[in-house]
Symmetry: C2
Subunit: 144 residues, 2 copies
DNA sequence: AGTTCAAGTTGTACTATACAACTACAACCG
DNA sequence: CGGTTGTAGTTGTATAGTACAACTTGAACT
């Protein structure tokens, strides 16, 4: 096996390990915000509000799933819905202040975990690793 | 923000994207084998058989969860249980031939997906990326 | 023998998810 | 206009994966 093939093997294996661990630990680390909820809130913050349908499309989730997640987030007071005056079918979702706070807090704690894990890496390696990951994820969606 | 801090941000973000995508696509890509089942079968192959309790410990799953997964895999004919003659509480799990075949097939198809995604990467980058991932995952478990 | 420990199963509950059927509104077309 | 078709979102139903607790069975060690 060539060095390239064996590197691909390793990348596959390590990415799988990571995915499994992330799934296992996500719920336990931030009981207040599941990985999906966190991602949705993050998207809302980044975009400054969007529609449930956009979330579903972007994250390849069924609209019913998003609908229930959104309902839960609203119940928890983390987002609010504003009827689009242009189109009354549409509800534009926005973070509430509480939502912004929780998102910031979870982001901080996640960032701390990553930072700790990456402590001791030379800056050059961090930058290259980050670039590789971006390049990997920028590829066509669909493969793991 | 320093280059190192911003790289950590990027790593966190991209790893999260990856974990989300993996979860979303795993079920659709290999309906015959969930990510967990695949991982369990892989572990059995690697170890040449082990106990349900070992699986639970290694993957931080509840023993009841493993028990049901194992039951399903046995029902599907992919693994078999052998009573440990030394200790009749213990069932040593082994891949059946069908299990080995399916595992090999899913591994091939996953590998193909990764290979396609990484096509065009210079060998040097593949090797470095693989090394970074190994180093990342080798850190203390628990952080995402 | 009796107690304590370990492996595994089963009952129950919860979360995330998908698919399908439905409602409400919009847009378009004749 | 007014009917048809399309889009946003909700709700009913089903399934998978998971955890926790209670239980069964066998082992080990006094």
């Amino acid at each position: 096996m060539s060095a390239a093939e064996s590197a691909v093997e390793t990348i596959q294996r390590e990415m799988t390990i990571f995915a499994r661990r992330a799934r296992a630990s996500a719920g336990r680390m931030h009981p207040e915000l599941s990985l999906v909820s966190y991602t949705l809130l993050g998207h809302l913050e980044e975009r400054g509000g969007c529609r449930a349908t956009d979330l579903a499309a972007h994250y390849a989730l069924d609209k019913s799933t998003v609908s229930r997640q959104v309902a839960a987030l609203e119940r928890a007071g983390l987002i609010e819905r504003r009827l689009d005056p242009e189109d009354h079918r549409v509800q534009v979702l926005h973070l509430t202040e509480a939502g912004q706070e929780i998102l910031a807090q979870v982001t901080r704690s996640r960032r701390a975990a990553f930072r700790e894990r990456l402590a001791g890496w030379p800056e050059e390696d961090l930058v290259r690793f980050a670039a590789y990951l971006e390049r990997y994820n920028a590829g066509p969606a669909g493969a793991d």
